[in-house]
Amino acid sequence: MLKTPLYDRHVQLGGTVIDFGGWGMPVQYTNVVEEHRTTREKAGLFDICHMGEFQVTGPDAFAFLQSVVSRNLEGQEVGQMKLSVITNERGGIIDDLTVYLMSPERYMVVTNAGTKDKDFAWFLKAKADKGYANVEIKDVSAETGKLDLQGPLSEIILQPLVKDDLAPLKFYYAMETEIMGKPGIVSRSGYTGEDGFEIYAPWDFIGTVWDKLLELGAPYGLKPIGLGARDTLRLEAGMMLYGHEMNEDITPLQVVYGWVTNLEKPFIGSDAIRHEKEVGLSQKLVGFEMVDRGIARNDYKIFKDGQEIGRVTSGTFCPTINQAVGLGFVPMQFRDVGTEIEIQIRDKMAKARIVKLPFYKREKV
């Protein structure tokens, strides 16, 4: 089992460690509901060291990335983060990732943990196929530690550790700065639907940052948060998870990634996606809430008028909205908000209703 630099701390903090894509990660420290609420109401600290980071540099870096990712990177400002997907020739999603422009001709790409190696191989293959000589792609995951600090009190907790002022940093923007005197990156972004930061610091220094944040954050109610609450937080915020809502047979238009897919420019997979758009989609990801009692779970069947029409991809009971909800695929004619569907839960059919995403939206101050 792979271990992040924080593994021993998770055990010491009483975390329940599980195998997550080959990594020993804490699923919870106390319980999911409590950790979920802590993040929404105060702040939560997540070990995200398992995720992948690539450096893409050189005169061809822009042209190369532009030909691989679905998002249009033209006009991207220094520090700006662009959520995107990479797709195969059939338009199927290889991964969803974020692309940061750190300085001209220098990008950081952040990938999911379980997809990191195939993403890297895909990048190298695309570089060779397209003949971009002047771009260097480097996997820096093993030297890059990552923490997510999420929740309304994140800024006040993090500020003392960071050299530069965090207040002017906008959502989906990052800055290179010093974190406890060492070079690092602070990005205002995250996977919870709250204000918060993604913090990048050297792999062998990230434990020091973790300890200091927990110490400084304790008076504000900051707690370490496991992957269990990470999942309920992201689902409540209507965010997707690779391997559930996305895989190599699902296109960005079928999920909620139309907005990160620019069909005005060519990228690997764009022809197939454009074609799909012209002929019409076969299925669409929708959010639903349970009307009857019961909790929909991954892979449960979705029915309409006695006919099986699709599958649930994620489902749980969401603590903040106090409601069982889920995501799943249905044929286009059933995708409209308000459509009543049924979820098979063991031997029973439970009524559910398609609703608008996200399930939860924070109030912006």
Binding site: H36, T232, F317
Partner: protein
């Protein structure tokens, strides 16, 4: 951390408790140790009244935020009562697993099966062993 296991109850190795009501019926639920492992219980699927259950076979379902767990019948028989209060407040199982968090009452078809269950001391030892 868990509450002590009451000595007037019997226990299964799947972490259910059973109380012999002395009138041919048994009240059962999951133990405090079990609720502690499951953590935040957010849904209890109760058995239908009249359902015939078999000792050691699935009779109800308890769900936490992250998991779905079967509850096995502590004895065989007919379900004559289910704790419908848990439909509105499943967290009662977390708060009071041995009393208010009871799940069902079974009219025993084979009272001798009670002999298959552990007493509190044996269950204490069973939990200690599985750690």
């Amino acid at each position: 951390m868990s509450k002590p296991n009451p000595t007037d109850l019997k226990y299964t190795n799947e972490h259910e408790w059973a109380k012999d009501n002395g009138d041919g019926t048994v009240t059962m639920g999951i133990t405090d140790h079990a609720q502690h492992l499951l953590t935040d219980i957010v849904y209890v699927e109760l058995p239908a009244l009249g359902k015939q259950v078999v000792q050691g076979k699935q009779a109800a379902v308890v769900e936490s935020v992250k998991s779905v767990s079967d509850v096995y019948a502590a004895v065989s028989g007919e379900v004559i009562e289910a704790n419908t209060a848990l439909e509105g407040s499943p967290e009662t199982v977390n708060q009071d697993a041995f009393v208010a968090g009871w799940i069902m009452k079974i009219k025993m078809s084979a009272p001798a099966e009670l002999g298959n269950l552990m007493d509190a001391a044996a269950y204490d030892a069973f939990i200690a062993e599985s750690h």
